[in-house]
């Protein structure tokens, strides 16, 4: 990582109501990087993403995006600045068609950049092209995930936060999703990836942060993490 990071969290505390979930979380994501955030259930990974886009307001610390403070901005503002959250469980609109889902993303999204056209996205994800008039609810898990990534592409976001994109998907579809993430990155889009599946994270990410009980306990490259059995065992529950 060189120069100033694109997205930077410094000493962020956040939580729901009186219960704090994140403590003193600092992390940087450089432009064009793929960075992973891994950790166990309940470690605070989703909360980290939510505090970046402003669904959860940090109680302390600051968040910067392209040099501007975005701490406490709401979800609409952060999306307009070009940060797209692809939440867990995908959250496509179940009663809108595939095309309507994409149209909606085109209406919203980054204000200073045009994303891909809907047709270009449909070219990229062939499965979706066959099903443009189907309701979102009728798509398979993998297709839904492609649609969420497609939405992010249409919105013109240049930083995408992916929350557990492979959760509950069959292994061969996991491969498709991983390819889609690589494709995003090749288009110059920065990715912050939350994953429970450490294997996926290690394969995709340039750098990794390990989160445990709301604190960053480790950071480093994928090969270092792969070699660190203690961290894998202690914080991630995978032994090699």
């Amino acid at each position: 990582m060189s120069a100033d990071p694109m997205l930077s969290l410094s000493h962020v505390d956040a939580g729901y109501g009186e219960t704090g979930i994140l403590t003193d979380v600092s992390l940087d994501v450089g432009e064009g990087e793929v960075v992973s955030l891994v950790g166990r259930n309940g470690a605070g990974k989703t909360t980290t993403l939510r505090s970046i886009v402003g669904i959860v307001e940090p109680t302390a610390g600051s968040i910067e995006y392209r040099g501007d403070a975005i701490t406490g901005l709401d979800a609409v503002d952060t999306a307009k600045r070009g940060i797209a959250l692809v939440p867990e469980e995908r959250r496509i609109f179940p009663e809108l068609t595939v095309r309507e889902n994409l149209e909606l993303a085109a209406y919203g999204g980054a204000t200073d950049a045009d994303g891909l056209s809907i047709d270009a996205v449909l070219d990229t994800f062939e499965n979706l092209a066959d099903r443009t008039d189907n309701d979102g609810a009728s798509l398979s898990g993998g297709e839904q995930q492609m649609l969420t990534i497609g939405r992010a592409l249409v919105s013109g976001a240049d930083c995408i936060l992916l929350d557990e994109p492979t959760e509950g998907l069959a292994p061969y579809i996991v491969q498709d999703v991983m390819n889609a993430v690589r494709d995003l990155n090749e288009r110059g889009i920065t990715v912050l990836l939350v994953e429970q599946n450490v294997h996926v994270a290690l394969e995709l990410a340039d750098r990794n942060y390990v989160l445990d009980r709301g604190e960053i306990v480790w950071e480093g490259g994928s090969s270092e993490l792969e070699a660190d059995e203690d961290v894998l065992d202690r914080y991630l529950g995978v032994s090699l």
Binding site: G42, S140, G141, P171, Q196, V238, S239
Partner: protein, 274 residues
Amino acid sequence: MAGTESSTEPESGAATESESRAERILQTDGLTKRFGAFTAVDDVDLSIERGEFRSIIGPNGAGKTTLFNLLSGALPVSEGSIRFDGTDITDLSPQKRVHQGLGRSFQILNIFEELTVRENVRLAAQSVHRDDYGFFESLFKPTDRHEPINARTDDVLERIDLASVDEEEAAALDYGGKRRLEIGMVLATDPKVVLFDEPTAGMSIEETEATIDLIEDVLADQTLLLIEHDIELVMDLSDRITVLNQGEVIASGPPDAIAADQAVQDAYLGGMVE
């Protein structure tokens, strides 16, 4: 597929002499759970002996917690049946299963945060003694005047080492304390079988050891099912281990047999190193 359990087929690995004679307290037959097109638990046959310590392991998304949700009644089954202590409980409500002696803990902490530590345990103990009360007693007798429940509450608080903070709000406990309280609540319902879903999740190594010691100590006589990600821990503790992958049982047997099982190694480590 190696070693799916059934009462007629010997397990992969060594079956011991006593096993065929031992009493089975919890049994599932073809247990299946589908969410739409996705099969989370696929035709699982389990057979747990009274007094056994059984661990359930498997990669993320293997269906371990879903299996527990089926056993405890949190989710309805799609197919198959569950027998517990001689009766079919497949269609029983969760609370009735608790009455029969099936207790559970949760992966994410699940206690009454705003009640006192004592009240948390007392509510669990009261559940066991719920039939002691007459109509008027249950409506009007103050809760602290029922000696058997108080005695049981005191006993459990001692055993989980929270007696000194019993009047504090549960929310004020540290993480380990909350986990101990949760175990104490399960203990206080006097279960025959306890389902533990990652009771040590998010604990340091020291806390993990203390918690496992506590479970072994206070629940030594009960039958235990444990979901755990720490394989080493599981190897030391368990009488038998069942390995799930993508909703199916891929192996089941004593720890050493599991450790040597090729299918397990593939499932657990597959995809890790290309």
